[in-house]
Symmetry: C2
Subunit: 336 residues, 2 copies
C-alpha cells in the first residue's frame, strides 16, 4: 500500500499476477473438483485459493481469485469456459444491433459472489497483507466480447471499431460504467487496491488507443472511489506508455519487454510502477531468476513507488519452488 | 530499388508481406492441388503464385513464394505442415546434445528449388518489378526449432537461451551461417533485394536481444554480398528498434504499433524504412484504408527511403479488392 503511494518501504513489495493458478498443485487439486466458472462463483473456494497462494509464496499482497470476464454475464453475454479451450462467448457482439442488446448493468448484485469472496478472504488473510480487487479494462473486455473468445488478430474487434465507431463507443461506455460499479463494489467489500488488466491493448496503434480506448479507460479511473490505489496493467504497451499514463492509474504495470528505468522515466517519476520480470525467466532456475530480479531492482534504483511483479501472469508449468525463490530474492535484495 | 537506397522516386513504392497468400482465390485454387511444402518445392508453381499476385495487385515488388522454415530441413530437422495446424518440427532442439546434431549447411543444393523458382519468376515478372528473396532471421528460426512449431510464450526457446547459453550461441551460429549461404544463393539466382523476417523477436526484452540475438543477426548481414539491399523486419519491435538497426539492414520494417515518423527518427534518417499499415485495417473497407494510408504517407513526409507495406503479413480472410484499393491509394496519394 505504501509503495502504491510512493512512500518509503523497508523492502520492495512483491506479488505475482496469477499467483493463485494452475502451476500450483494445491490449486489443481481444488480445480479438479470444480469447473472454472464454478470455482469463481463459490466464495469459499475462491477465498481459499487466494489465501493459500499468498501464504505459500510469502508475497506482500493477495489478489482475489476471479476472472476478468465475469462482468460480461450481467451484460447479457453467454460465457462458458470450455475444457482446455479458454473462454467462449456464444453471442459475441459483431454489429451495432448487437451493441444495442448489451444490458446496462444497474447493480452489481449478480456478481455478489465476488464481493463475498473478498469479504471472506479479507478475514482469512494476515492483516498486513493487502487484498487487491480487479477487473478487465474496457478494451480487453471488448476484444473478448467481439471475438467471442481469445484472439490473435482482433479482426472482429477492429472491424467494429473502424466501421461503426458510434456503436464501438457505445459498447465501450456501457462496459466502462459496469466496470466502475464493479470496482467500487469490490472496494466496499474490502479490496484495498484494484487493478485494471488491459492485457491485449498492445495490439493497437497509438492512434487507435487514443481515439477508441483512452477516454473509456479514463472514465473508469475517474469513477473509482478516491483513496483506493488503482493499478493499470497491459502487455505489449511499449508504444503506448505515455497514453496509458494519461488514461490513469496510481501504479502503471509494465511487461518485460521494456526496461523498467526507461519505462518509469516515460510515465513520470510522479507515478508508482509495477513489474517487470519475464514470466518465462521462472523456467530457468533460481540463479537466473535472482540475477534478473537484481537487474530490475537496480533499475528501480531504490526509488519509492516500485511494486515488484512479473511482466504478465505466471504460466501453468512454472516450478513453484522457483516462484518462492523469486519472492525471497526480491525481499532480500531490496532491503533498505 | 531506389527507395531502398533512399534515392528519389516518382511515388512511394508499395508491396505487401504475404501478398501471394490464402486471401486470394487464385492462390487457393493452386493450393488445393498441392500440400504447402510441395507448393514451395515446385519451382513453376512457386513462380506462378509469386508472379500472379504481383500482377493482380499492381505492386512495385514481388517476393518469392517460399517459407522461412525451408532452410531447417538441410540442418536435419524434420519439418511438416500439418493440415490447418501450421508447421510442426518432429525433432525439436531442447538440449545441448540436440544442438550438436544440427547439421552444418555446407551447400545450399538441397534448396535448389527456391533458386529455380527465383530464376523462373525473374523471367516471368515485368522487368521493372524487382524480385525480393528472403529468409527467417536467426531468432525466429531458433524459436520454431526449439518449440517444434509456433508458440505463444517461447518457453523452450528461452529455457535453452538462459540455461545453456553456450549451446544457444552455437545453434544461432549454425543457423546464421546457413542463412548467409542461403541469401547469397538467392541473390545469385536473381533476387534483387532480400529480407530477413524476425517475426517473433518482439517476445524478447532488449537485454536478451542484445546478448542472445544481435550478434547472430548482424553476422548474417555482414555475410550477405554487398550491393544488394537487405530489409530487416520484425513485429512487436517498438522496444528494440535501435538494437535492430544496430544489427543491420538497409531498410528497417516496422509493424503498425509504432508511428512511422517516430520510429524512423529512432532508427535514423540515414536508413530506409518500410511499413506500416495494420493488416486488420484491410477488413474495414477502402475508405478507411485510404485514410490510414494517407496518415502513414504524411508521416513519411515525402522523405526518400520509404517503402510502403503492411505492418505484418496479409491475413487469410482479407478482401482482395481492398488490397487492390490500398495499392492504388498509395500510388495516387504519394505522387511527387
Amino acid at each position: 500500500m505504501r509503495a502504491c503511494r510512493r512512500e518509503g518501504v523497508p523492502y520492495t513489495p512483491v506479488w505475482l499476477m496469477r499467483q493463485a493458478g494452475r502451476y500450483m498443485k494445491e490449486y489443481r487439486d481444488v480445480r479438479a473438483r470444480y469447473g472454472f466458472l464454478e470455482m469463481c462463483k463459490q466464495p469459499e473456494v475462491a477465498a481459499e485459493v487466494t489465501t493459500y497462494a499468498a501464504h505459500r509464496l510469502n508475497v506482500d499482497a493477495a489478489i482475489i481469485f476471479a476472472d476478468i470476464l465475469l462482468i460480461i454475464e450481467p451484460m447479457g453475454l453467454d460465457l462458458e469456459f470450455a475444457q482446455g479451450e479458454g473462454p467462449v462467448i456464444h453471442n459475441p457482439v459483431r454489429s451495432p444491433a448487437d451493441v444495442d442488446r448489451l444490458r446496462e448493468v444497474e447493480s452489481i448484485d449478480a456478481l455478489d459472489y465476488v464481493m463475498q469472496a473478498i469479504r471472506i478472504t479479507r478475514r482469512e488473510l494476515k492483516p498486513n497483507v493487502p487484498l487487491i480487487g480487479f477487473c478487465g479494462a474496457p478494451f480487453t473486455l471488448a476484444s473478448y466480447v467481439c471475438e467471442g473468445g481469445g484472439s490473435k488478430n482482433y479482426i472482429n474487434t477492429k472491424r467494429l471499431m473502424y466501421n461503426d465507431p458510434g456503436a464501438w463507443h457505445e459498447m465501450m461506455s456501457r462496459i466502462s460504467r459496469a466496470l466502475a460499479l464493479y470496482l467500487n463494489a469490490q472496494i466496499d467489500a474490502g479490496a484495498q487496491a484494484v487493478q485494471l488488466f488491459d492485457s491485449w491493448v498492445g495490439c493497437l496503434s497509438p492512434d487507435d488507443y487514443r481515439e477508441f480506448v483512452l477516454p473509456h479507460t479514463r472514465s473508469v479511473f475517474e469513477n473509482v472511489k478516491p483513496g483506493t490505489p488503482v493499478l493499470h496493467f497491459g502487455t505489449g504497451t511499449a508504444p503506448l506508455l505515455e497514453l496509458i499514463r494519461e488514461a490513469g492509474g496510481d501504479v502503471i504495470g509494465f511487461d518485460w519487454r521494456v526496461r523498467l528505468d526507461e519505462a518509469w522515466a516515460r510515465v513520470g517519476h510522479d507515478t508508482a510502477v509495477m513489474g517487470n520480470l519475464d514470466p518465462v525467466a521462472l523456467f530457468a532456475g533460481a540463479e537466473h531468476v535472482r540475477r534478473e530480479a537484481k537487474k530490475i531492482l537496480d533499475r528501480a534504483g531504490g526509488r519509492d513507488g516500485h511494486v515488484f511483479n512479473l511482466g504478465h501472469g505466471i504460466l501453468p508449468e512454472t516450478p513453484v519452488e522457483t516462484v518462492v525463490a523469486l519472492v525471497e530474492a526480491v525481499h532480500e535484495l531490496s532491503q533498505r
